[in-house]
């Protein structure tokens, strides 16, 4: 393991930033766990225990898993399942453009390993902490701290959900704890007027475009919010120059 090679001489879990990364993920973890549990229950209904365990460990992308389940259960062609997951994951392609300046200098095997672990919330927390897009020694330890906790917070309840199946009271709406975790994280990013407007635009666009298949409404919402954010930044400048 050469994970520590970029974080100085220490292995990443010995670096203080590892704890910081884990601690910042900790407050969101209950939401992730509730979500993992609900996803585990949904998987075992469609696939049975062995395949569900395989899917949980190998795929590790909740919304793509949930989108693929009914298709696999209905015996859809393999390429349809894959194309669906690809579309549901398009947001990660956007995120990866932002990861690039931090990760591009690393060896390929390590970049692929990072790729597996870079879930949505790790992305949000990392970009919040390291706003300057250039590598620094504490980034990888911070990253590994966050993703290790996130991985466990997702996988342990997911496996529990797979094994417990119907005994989990999903009708209580426990999965909503995941939405509340995202809400809290979203609130931490709201600061000036441009961010409030961008969030409102994204929310409205996501609702308006909800009928699009394959969760493409998320991609539409991101595009709309990015455009609106840029516009908001341009407006005052133009007014001054006018």
């Amino acid at each position: 393991m050469k994970l520590g090679s970029e974080g100085g001489t220490l292995p990443p879990w010995r670096h203080p930033a590892f704890r910081t990364g884990a601690r910042e993920m900790m407050s969101i973890a209950p939401g992730i766990s509730a979500w993992g549990l609900v996803t585990g229950v949904a998987m075992v209904k469609a696939l049975g225990v062995p395949l569900s365990l395989l899917m949980s460990m190998v795929v590790f992308a909740g919304s793509a898993q949930l989108a693929a389940l009914p298709l696999i259960a209905a015996g859809a062609p393999v390429w349809v399942v894959w194309a669906t997951a690809l579309c549901v994951n398009l947001r990660f392609v956007i995120f990866s453009a932002q990861w690039r300046p931090y990760f591009a200098h690393l060896p390929l095997v390590q970049r692929l390993r990072l790729g597996y672990f870079t879930a949505d919330l790790n992305y949000v927390l990392f970009m919040k902490r390291f706003r300057e897009p250039r590598p620094s020694a504490e980034q990888l330890p911070y990253f590994w701290g966050g993703v290790s906790l996130n991985w466990c917070a997702w996988q342990i309840p997911s496996v529990a959900g797979i094994l417990l199946g119907e005994r989990v009271p999903t009708h209580w709406g426990l999965g909503f704890a995941g939405t509340l975790a995202l809400l809290g994280l979203m609130n931490t990013l709201l600061s000036d007027r441009a961010t409030w407007v961008a969030a409102a635009v994204a929310g409205c666009a996501a609702v308006a475009a909800y009928a699009l298949p394959l969760r493409l409404n998320i991609v539409v919402a991101i595009a709309a919010a990015v455009a609106m954010g840029l516009l908001m930044e341009q407006l005052p400048r133009q007014r001054r120059s006018a």
């Binding site: 407050s27 969101i28 209950p30 509730a34 395949l51 395989l54 899917m55 190998v58 795929v59 590790f60 693929a68 696999i72 015996g75 393999v78 399942v81 894959w82 994951n89 392609v93 995120f95 990866s96 453009a97 932002q98 990861w99 591009a104 390929l108 970049r111 692929l112 990072l114 790729g115 597996y116 949505d120 949000v124 970009m127 919040k128 209580w172 709406g173 909503f176 509340l180 975790a181 809400l183 809290g184 609130n187 990013l189 961010t195 961008a198 969030a199 409102a200 666009a205 996501a206 609702v207 909800y210 409404n217 998320i218 919402a221 991101i222 919010a225 990015v226 954010g229 840029l230 930044e233």
Partner: protein, 109 residues
């Protein structure tokens, strides 16, 4: 779908996870992004969160909800109130979930 086919499908899905998440850092060749795009992408994390959260709160089965008697609305109000009062994500989750469970199990909303 046979067992082997299901395993193949799942392995392919895993590959899709890795490839989409690392898409733009798979290659080390120069990849100049225009400055305005870099600037705009700063809004992407916030937008992605809002795009997931808002439909989860105000929609049911792909339709906007038509009632205010929905436990989710109050859960979000409680969670947000907690956040702007105390600034904690954990408290947001706990207070929101508590309100949700009380309304859903108690009143059937």
């Amino acid at each position: 779908m046979s067992g082997a086919e299901a395993v193949l499908t799942i392995l392919g899905l895993g590959l899709i996870t890795v490839l989409t998440r690392s898409f733009f850092f798979l290659s080390q060749r120069e990849m100049p992004l225009p400055a305005w795009l870099k600037q705009g992408l700063r809004y992407a994390p916030l937008a992605a969160l809002a795009a997931v959260v808002v439909p989860e709160v105000v929609m049911t089965q792909g339709e906007l909800i038509h009632t205010w008697q929905d436990a989710r609305l109050f859960a979000v109000a409680a969670g947000s109130a907690w956040f702007w009062w105390r600034r904690g994500i954990l408290g947001t989750i706990v207070s929101g979930t508590a309100v949700l469970l009380v309304l859903r199990l108690g009143l059937g909303w």
